[in-house]
Amino acid sequence: MPQFAPSVPKTAVAPITISPAGLNCEAELFLGPDDQTKVATSGPVSFISTGAERSVNLPVTMPVEGNYHVYLDVYAEDILVAAYQAIEDVIVEVPVAEFAYVSGIRSLGTFFPSLPGDGEWYKVQVDIKNIGTIAGICSIGPEEMQVLRGYEDQAHFQPVNSLEAYGQIPFSQTIQPGQTLTFEWWIVRITVPFVQPVHVYTKVTSQAGSLGPVQIA
């Protein structure tokens, strides 16, 4: 179903066949709740019939938000020879960027990059798709929680704040409509031998909502 933004000029192209050739013809495409109410119209667009199919351009400026039926009337020498209603309506709505998680949070395992600091590094990813109608910036806010045995009462989620420092993980990305991008962050596990094991959890919030927590170690 075609979706357009309000006040946007669009051109419908209709393959029209009028016989015989040489007739003065007019076509009008209009949107409305019924065929008596023209909310937006191309107005009469003139052409000469050829007896064969020809593409006729019918420019229409989209009306205010709503669902509209699409009607097409064709006249030959002022005689209505074709009156159509399109099978699909036109939806007019303000374009928005809308995001959705299209994967769970996944851990790619342990890494030991040449980065400052001690510990084991876990690369974590999630895929977010723009299911809206325009491009938009999606920002993620990953959090982590590390649970040390004997210190369970001190465990709580806190923002993963080392991302920008290492310059490897984008907090925000512009996602085009229909596009899916991967967001990635790193978590460094505290290594304290005498309080092993350490359990590591992460969760993420973004315009797509909250996801997690999941245990990654």
Binding site: A12, P20, L72, A76, I79, V81
Partner: protein, 113 residues
């Protein structure tokens, strides 16, 4: 009898519409039993629509004869217009109009934006 050309407007009509042609016909002498038939077709032997035989009595002067025809349902065609006039059963006049009757037709394919 060789068919003669007859002056006529260039009409365009919707399919299946009822229309009445008015033909000024002069048959002499007066008092003859006459009939006129107007028909549309792609040839004189192919009558797509006809008024049928409309009877009248000649006056020796011009008479305006009404010839009702329901237009053919099949559009997209330019039909020739024929007019035959009989007097006492004999074909007296056989005309072909200079202009055709046009029945337009139209169709629309898939609309794209």
């Amino acid at each position: 009898m060789e068919r003669q050309m007859l002056q006529m407007d260039d009409p365009v009509f919707p399919p299946s519409e009822s229309k009445t042609a008015k033909a000024p016909i002069t048959v002499s002498p007066a008092g003859l039993s006459c009939q006129a038939e107007l028909f549309l077709g792609t040839s004189p032997t192919n009558k797509a629509a006809t008024s049928g035989l409309i009877p009248f009595t000649s006056t020796g002067a011009q008479q305006l004869i009404s010839l009702p025809v329901t237009m053919p349902a099949a559009g997209g065609v330019a039909y020739h217009v024929y007019l035959d006039v009989y007097a006492e059963g004999y074909l007296l006049l056989a005309y072909l109009a200079t202009e055709d009757v046009i029945i337009p037709s139209g169709s629309v394919g898939l609309i794209t934006w």
